[in-house]
């Protein structure tokens, strides 16, 4: 067993410095690495390039780093719920690269899988295709998208073991699995860090080979963005 356990979020984030590119898991506020983001906010590390589907809300998730002006460039697919984000983007303070969600997912997965580039139909004929190679397969046009490069991937899982095996829960899975191993170093924060051998080998979503450091988060707020209920 190769042990990936680190004792704290501070140790987990060691080596992250100004100007680096980070991939950060989660969809909206669901499945985000809360403890790591709070630590990044405390750290004051600046000029970050963040690859994440969303940018949190004004006072939680990546919104915290935006408010602190720690993010230089944001690569995301949707930013609709964050007023500060929109303000920084429209004013030009923040560089934003909007990317179709499926392309974003596949560019992470390509990085994980050693695929330098792939063709996708998403974005053909739109602003997204600018400067990208176009190729026709079976009469349909596709654009060439390259794998992301990142210094660190930071993901959140439900359960993990000391060798870095991960299991996600519900829709908190989202972008987390593909980001594992996509950055040079992968940090996983988990709700529950269990001893080796307690996870069913058949039910592991991400094998430990894709994870470099794992720690149990001290607190998970798991804020709900849109509480929607039905009348019984």
């Amino acid at each position: 067993m190769i042990n990936k356990k680190v004792s704290s979020v501070t140790k987990a984030l060691e080596g992250i410095s100004n100007g680096m590119t980070l991939m950060i898991g989660g969809f909206g506020l669901c499945g985000i690495p809360e403890n790591s983001i709070l630590e990044l906010a405390r750290s004051g590390i600046k000029n970050l390039v963040c690859i994440s589907n969303n940018a949190g809300v004004d006072d939680f998730g990546l919104g915290l780093l935006l408010k602190n002006k720690q993010i230089h460039t944001m690569i995301a697919s949707y930013v609709g719920e964050n007023a500060e984000f929109e303000r920084q983007m429209l004013s030009g303070e923040l560089k934003v690269i909007l990317t179709p969600q499926g392309t974003l997912a596949e560019k992470c997965r390509a990085a994980q899988a050693g695929i330098p580039a792939f063709y996708t139909p998403a974005g053909y004929g739109t602003e997204v295709a600018k400067g990208k190679e176009v190729k026709i397969f079976d009469g349909k046009s596709y654009i060439l998208e390259e794998a992301y490069k990142a210094d660190f991937s930071i993901v959140k899982a439900w359960k993990g073991d000391e060798s870095g095996n991960l299991i996600f829960k519900g829709t908190a899975r989202n972008f987390n699995p593909m980001m594992c191993g996509a950055g040079n170093i992968t940090i996983a924060e988990v709700e529950s860090l269990v001893p080796i051998g307690q996870l069913d080998p058949n039910s592991i979503h991400i094998p430990g080979i894709f994870v470099d450091r794992i720690f149990q988060g001290t607190k998970f707020e798991k804020r709900i963005e849109q509480l929607t209920i039905r009348k019984k």
């Binding site: 969809f27 909206g28 506020l29 669901c30 499945g31 589907n53 995301a76 697919s77 949707y78 930013v79 609709g80 719920e81 929109e86 983007m89 429209l90 934003v96 909007l98 179709p100 969600q101 499926g102 392309t103 974003l104 997912a105 596949e106 992470c108 997965r109 996708t120 139909p121 998403a122 974005g123 053909y124 004929g125 739109t126 602003e127 997204v128 439900w158 996600f168 829960k169 519900g170 829709t171 908190a172 899975r173 989202n174 972008f175 987390n176 699995p177 593909m178 979503h205 798991k222 804020r223 709900i224 963005e225 849109q226 509480l227 929607t228 209920i229 039905r230 019984k232």
Partner: protein, 218 residues
Amino acid sequence: MPLDKNLIAKRISQELKDGFYVNLGIGIPTLIANYVPENINVEFQSENGVLGMGPFPIKGSEDPDLINAGKQTITTLPGASFFDSAMSFSMIRGKHVDLTVLGAMEVSEKGDISNWKIPGKLVKGMGGAMDLVASSDNIIVAMMHVNKKGESKLLKKCKLPITGLRCVKKIVTEIAVIDIINEEFHLKEIAPGVSVDYVISSTEGKLNVPEFVPTMKF
């Protein structure tokens, strides 16, 4: 009388077929789940990683780890499954989803759609819309026929940045059902109490109108 949002959703629900996997966008499309005909089985996919979505949870049973693409708390039905975003878009890009319903700011008579950006003003991002419209063979747009200024949203050519080219097959608005065939709008149905002339005057793109236009039925 023009339809309200719920009736637009109800009209679109008539397009559901037994065995369909369906992706519903944020807004009006989400309401369609409330109107699935009783005699058919469909499953709802949400691109954030769930197939087999059920209704919203009852109070107290909401789970922060269980949301749809609109970030709303949801439930799942028996037979549901969870998966990552890459697999979710394998379903979409790989044409495994049978019907996609989404909102739009503009649709052109060629079937082009704009729904992600108003330059210099509003930038929400495309989310999964560009992947959906680039891949799905069966796209229905649910939207209002005119914008807040009273300008038609069914145009000769989209003015806003494009989300996808030549992809929309059908538009359901508060006043009409319009199909796009051979790059032209075709009026198929009108809302109860709405005149054909009103639909024509509300549509900037070329609208083909048959001799008899049926009224929507619910």
